[in-house]
Amino acid sequence: MKFLFKILKDFPAYLWSGWGAMASTLLFIAFWDLGNQVYGNLVLPSPLETFKTLYTMLQDKDVWEQIDITLYRASVGFGLSMLFGSILGLIAGFFATASMMSRPIVTILVGMPPIAWIVLAMIWFGMGDETVIFTVVVASFPIVFVGALQGTRTLDGDLKEMAESFDFPWHMKFFDVYFPHIFSYIFPAWVSGLGMAWKIVIMAELLATSDGMGAELAIARSQLDTPTALALVTIMITSLMFIEYIILEPIKREVELWRA
């Protein structure tokens, strides 16, 4: 609770530090507009036109439904990865044999291109939610898993010994010695896992479903409707930026104050 309060208290200062980010975003938009003037409307619509399209799209209830569908798939997929990735990663980290056994599996999962998984998933599950969710899980699970595994494997033996010498009860060992260290590994892994989930969900939808934002993107492409495509991309990017910078980053800052 104290923690939550501290996050809220430091939030304005954090926002203030965002001016630099704002400046670079505006610069990006300026270059975008330049690109539009060089290559023309069909290839690269102007930022203004894109934002106008975006505005009209956001009035449309159907678009929100598509966003909902995508959000649902991404969160179920990421939620599963986060849950099982964390738990299995911890288990694998605590047992040397398990961590050795899991290494080749992780290598396969990380190394296999997501597109190959999509093809397999389409064969196994057909066109629908399962295919998308499966691909998301397969792509973001190993990231979380490796984070949890690393966190557990790198626990400081000296600190464990210290805890032993003071006869820490099990809950102190966990919350005061293991957890903060493991969390400092697992949390960044969650952040990258989430980013991965968001990218993969769009790709999987584009190839394997007839609804969701990815499918909308496919339709825009087939109609050569560049403004709509760019508007969709804008939605995807801003939502990711919102989650990352407004929600996750402030938490991370507070949690990692002790880091050098």
Binding site: M162, S165, F166, M172, D176
Partner: protein, 248 residues
């Protein structure tokens, strides 16, 4: 009667023999120090006595009710501030949180830490400050046996003096026994009833020095005299290889 008895203790790391046939007894209320060259196995001996390493050969019998350990390298929890770090030992013993924090603040002040340091994380502390936090964390639990691994090595002489006095006070108050390691012979003479001289390769005890004057009644003069005397001791010269210095 509580005591720590070490009998025929031998220890190996891999194939190297680190400690060879160590024997000593530490009785209730006694202060025993171990001096010896760096890398001679002092820390290893202390870890064995504290049960942090498993005894392979020989035996260690520890009948003290409670023990606490101040480590050579601090070992503070990096995600806890000064006061929370000091309090962990108390909390582990089941003390109430606010009481533990109060006691920790009190001892922190006694250890020369200032209120503005209380909220700092270990990364923002100096070496000597970390050492004091580590020491305070062990002492605040008022153990019946306290293990100290070079607790004063990074402190200035003023602080050392204060902490000596403080340590002797709480030693008397709680009838605490201390087993401690130091490189400073004068410090050993000032504080301890017995000084064990541990020679290296492999570590074995070559001599025991005993001081009968109660440690809170030792005059500076006594300490200087004894230090001068001990530096002439043949075994000390041998163990620390003091003579080779003069030859070159």
């Amino acid at each position: 009667m509580e005591s720590l008895e070490v009998k025929n203790l031998t220890h190996h790391f891999g194939f190297t023999e680190i400690l060879q046939n160590i024997n000593f007894t530490l009785k209730k209320g006694e202060v025993l120090s171990v001096v010896g060259p760096s890398g001679g196995g002092k820390t290893t001996l202390l870890h064995l006595c504290a049960g942090l390493l498993d005894v392979e050969e020989g035996s260690i019998q520890n009948s003290f009710k409670s023990t606490a350990f101040a480590f050579q390298e601090g070992r503070l929890l990096p995600w806890k501030n000064v006061i929370d770090n000091i309090a962990v030992g108390l909390l582990a013993k089941g003390e109430k949180k606010d009481k533990a924090l109060k006691k920790s603040q009190k001892i922190a002040l006694k250890f020369g830490l200032e209120e503005e340091d209380f909220e700092k994380y270990p990364k923002d502390l100096s070496g000597g400050m970390k050492q004091r936090v580590n020491f305070a964390r062990a002492l605040v639990t008022k153990p019946s046996l306290l293990f100290l691994d070079e607790p004063f090595s990074a402190l200035d002489i003023g602080l050392k003096k204060e902490l000596y006095a403080h340590l002797l006070d709480s030693c008397k108050e709680n009838e605490m026994s201390i087993l401690f390691i130091t490189h400073d012979l004068m410090e050993a003479i000032r504080l301890s009833d017995k000084v064990l001289l541990l020679k290296a390769d492999p570590g074995h005890i070559v001599k025991t020095f005993e001081y009968d004057t109660p440690n809170d009644k030792r005059e500076e003069n006594f300490i200087y005299e004894q230090s001068a005397k001990i530096l002439q001791d043949k075994e000390i010269i041998d163990t620390f290889e003091l003579n080779t210095l003069e030859l070159t």
